[in-house]
């Protein structure tokens, strides 16, 4: 996929806009979703995100939205359903919700992350919690995302519950500061900072694509892992383009360049370098062994069962779907905070994901049916979990088709020029 047309063509004007919330909302709308005049802006948020949702609505109309459609999804309503509802409610995808999801086609979407009560579902029957998924709604959104028919973004809003989880106290201000720093809101001109940042990430992708790598090798304490890449694998970072050429930044923050691995080729061991938040459980010191592309052994000092449970979800969950490189410049990584939220934590350092393949980085494959995808080496599964494997002690090399090693990261410093 071509990244050359990526153009964050936003000029945020800051007369009197001293409010951090409004500045953030503008960033979400103009850089993240890159809303085009005349588009509908869909916003998905939790009730606790109401302040940001409202600011995004204002920013959306200011940026020329034809209509801003905010939907609040309430975790307490979900809890009541899991606790008291009939079985059929758990998987119900009401027609109108599917239709709303289909209406995203050709429009902009901003999703707000940041759980207000991360433990809300912890005391419920976990089997029912796991089953409670609006599959048809999710699939229809995912299909449009993969078809690059939506310019979308995910951004986080700090809540007391999340802050409590991260800092041990509900210090929302501190979490705000950490988020602001991560998304470059502390810059005098955040948009210019983002333009520069995404250009740098795109340049890295170009460097990596030029090498036409056949594999990536991670080595460090407890880690010696080689992951194969596909001929179709491209490196993506600093945003993606819709099929109509609207460049958007799907994750705020983003520090990664990522690609699609060959699900059939992964050999060796890997030790995770940061804690992983997995549906209310924190997994620590995760170690995995790979053979023939498959995870054959899982160890962890805590939370191993949560990982094993996830790997048992379907027969393809044990194969890799993403490889991502992040260097020590990362604004997330430099803060040394474990955010217990993938949106942030995966941007702290290099990570890999087991489960479904990201297809933005293999555009030739996107749109193929699941069987064919698997046949061509791109994994299809109902899970996708990123875990962090990078750090100053982990070296990353590219492996070229003729077996040569090319240093990519040493002591968290980018080696390619």
């Amino acid at each position: 996929m071509s990244l050359s047309t990526l153009d964050i063509d936003a000029s945020i004007v800051y007369p009197r806009m001293t409010d951090r919330l409004d500045a953030y909302a503008d960033l979400v709308v103009r850089v993240g979703a890159n809303l085009q005049p005349g588009q509908t802006l869909f916003v998905n948020a939790a009730p606790e995100h109401v302040d940001l949702a409202r600011a995004i609505a204002r920013a959306g109309y200011r940026a020329g939205a034809a209509f801003v459609d905010v939907r609040y999804v309430d975790p307490h309503v979900r809890r009541a359903m899991i606790e008291r509802g009939p079985d059929e409610a758990l998987t119900a995808s009401p027609d109108w919700q599917v239709l709303r999801s289909k209406s995203l086609d050709g429009n902009a979407l901003a999703m707000i992350a940041g759980e207000a009560e991360p433990e809300l579902l912890a005391d419920l029957d976990q089997e029912r919690v796991g089953r409670a998924r609006q599959v048809a709604v999710m699939e229809s959104t995912l299909k449009l995302q993969n078809a690059r028919a939506i310019n979308w973004t995910i951004a986080a809003y700090p809540t007391p519950g999340w802050a409590e989880q991260v800092f041990g106290e509900p210090d929302v201000d501190r979490l705000w500061d950490a988020i602001a720093q991560s998304v470059r809101l502390d810059e005098e001109d955040p948009v210019a900072a983002w333009r520069e940042h995404t250009a740098r990430l795109r340049a890295r992708c170009a460097q990596l694509d030029a090498l036409q790598l056949d594999g990536i090798h991670f080595s460090g304490p407890g880690t010696d892992l080689t992951i194969g890449l596909l001929p179709e694998s491209r490196w993506v970072g600093g945003g993606i383009d819709t099929k109509d050429g609207i460049g958007h930044v799907p994750n705020l923050p983003t520090e990664e360049v990522f690609t699609t691995p060959d699900a059939r080729r992964a050999e060796g061991t890997v030790r995770s370098t940061r804690p992983l938040a997995l549906g209310g459980t924190v997994v620590r010191d995760l170690e995995m062994t790979f053979a023939g592309g498959e995870i054959v052994d899982v160890k962890a000092s805590s939370g191993a069962d949560a990982v094993r449970g996830q790997l048992a979800t379907d027969e393809h969950a044990k194969r890799l779907g993403e490889v991502a490189l992040v260097d020590g410049e990362s604004r997330v990584g430099r803060q040394g905070i474990t955010f217990l939220n993938t949106l942030f934590d995966e941007n702290a350092t290099c990570h890999i994901a087991y489960g479904s393949a990201v297809l933005f980085s293999a555009p030739e494959l996107a749109g193929l049916p699941p069987d064919e995808l698997r046949e061509r080496g791109a994994n299809v599964s109902s899970v996708h979990t990123d875990f962090m494997v990078g750090g100053p002690e982990v070296s990353v090399d590219g492996v070229t088709r003729d077996g040569k090693r090319v240093p990519i990261l040493r002591e968290d410093v980018w080696q390619l020029t």
Binding site: R58, G60, V68, D74, A89, Q97
Partner: protein
């Protein structure tokens, strides 16, 4: 920080019991029904309690959709013209899905003046008309057992009392909805049967018109021979009883939209589309409002009655006497669900299909608006006028004059 655990538990119980009353008596949710909850985002605690109560009552699926007045404000203030009346396709689909389902909506505006500084004409125009039409049609077809309940909150309490005394507002709400009774369900049964018997007496009187006389008011409105007086104990077409408003103290009918003459003045402020309307006076000729005066907010009313060709005609007249629990509180709630039950009121716009026997809606006013405004007060005299022109007192000094 000291926490009064007992009060906290009591308050939680009250919310759960309130939600249960709304689900079991208000919407009267049937086992296996889908339940739609349409709430303002600030009403999330009530919406959540309603969801719990609905699932406990056997709901198949509970669908909560929050609306956000601030998002609406952004649209009116900053959005293009077309956005104002836009109804997203999914909203229509969701509206249609109410067919055969139960539905509960919530009131209690946390910021009643939020839209006060905006262009009143745009505020009045900002309506999802297509969605309203769907729900009007469902009312005519009587395919939804629905109810409205209020959620006490700081902003609303401040509007009412001048201070954010939510507890005081909760007590008023509990009193008005009979939640203070030992057995609220039994109390509601008794209450509705008393209102029904009053309605029966009015039906037996076969009045041809109602005449209002009082300060700023001398107004006669014609009745339709096939329109009944009734209480708000409704039945769906399939026979499911439900109470669409909690509280309810009124008996009402749908008038003849072609016969109304005179001048009628409001007796209470009216919260409408994010503004407070005060001192409203209508001049009416041949059933149609021809002039709107108000001390405050006239523009919104004018815009609303111009929104379609029948919006300026009347759809409801309702009688409430001094025994009303809402009236007895002496509180102006700035919320139609409450204030219309404090005293007599009239609505311009859409009629009430329920009052017509055998689905004969001929002559009922059809419009996309339905706005109740309060006209009752002690000085207001209400008479029934018989076909031969005789006047029969119905209300004097807010006391019911007909036999019960």
């Amino acid at each position: 920080m000291a926490v009064d655990v007992e009060t906290d538990v009591k308050a939680k119980n009250r919310l759960e019991r309130y939600a249960e009353l709304a689900v079991r008596v208000g919407a009267n949710v049937e086992e296996g029904q889908t339940v739609f909850i349409n709430a303002q985002i600030e009403h999330a605690p009530l919406a959540r309690a309603l969801t719990r109560a609905a699932y406990s009552a056997g709901a198949r699926y509970v669908d909560v959709t929050y609306r956000d007045q601030h998002v609406r404000k952004a649209m009116i203030e900053l959005g293009p013209d077309e956005a104002l009346t836009h109804t997203p396709e999914w909203q229509k689909e969701r509206g249609e899905a109410h067919n055969g389902a139960a539905s509960i909506w919530t009131t209690g505006d946390p910021e009643p003046q939020l839209l006060g500084d905006l262009d009143g004409e745009r505020v009045g125009r900002a309506q999802m008309k297509e969605l309203i039409e769907i729900s009007r049609r469902q009312m005519v077809d009587r395919v939804v057992n629905w109810s409205g309940v209020a959620f006490p909150n700081e902003g609303w309490a401040t509007e009412v009392f001048g201070e954010p005394d939510v507890e005081r507002l909760w007590e008023a709400v509990a009193f008005c909805t009979r939640l203070d009774e030992d057995d609220p369900v039994a109390a509601w049964r008794e209450h509705m049967s008393r209102l029904d018997s009053r309605a029966e007496k009015l039906n037996e009187s076969e009045f041809d018109a109602i005449h209002y006389r009082g300060p700023g008011t001398d107004f006669t409105i014609g009745l339709l021979p096939h329109a009944r007086w009734m209480s708000a104990l409704f039945h769906t077409a399939s026979g499911r009883p439900y109470v669409p408003n909690m509280p309810t103290e009124e008996i009402f009918t749908t008038p003849d939209p072609t016969r109304a003459e005179g001048t009628i003045s409001s007796s209470l402020p009216l919260a409408l589309l994010g503004e407070i309307i005060k001192g409203l006076t209508f001049t009416v000729r041949d059933g149609r409002i021809v002039n709107v005066d108000a001390e405050q907010g006239a523009e919104i009313v004018r815009s609303q009655i111009a929104s379609d060709e029948n919006a300026a005609r009347f759809g409801e007249i309702a009688l409430v006497d001094g025994t009303s629990r809402v009236g007895k509180t002496g509180i102006t709630f700035f919320d139609t669900l409450y204030d219309e039950n404090a005293t007599c009121h009239i609505a311009y716009g859409f009629g009430i299909p329920e009052v017509f026997e055998d689905d004969m809606y001929d002559g009922m006013n059809i419009s996309t608006v339905h706005t109740d405004f309060m006209v009752g007060r002690p000085e207001l005299e209400v008479d029934g006028v018989t076909k031969d022109g005789k006047s029969v007192p119905i209300l004097r000094d807010e006391t019911w004059q007909l036999a019960e």
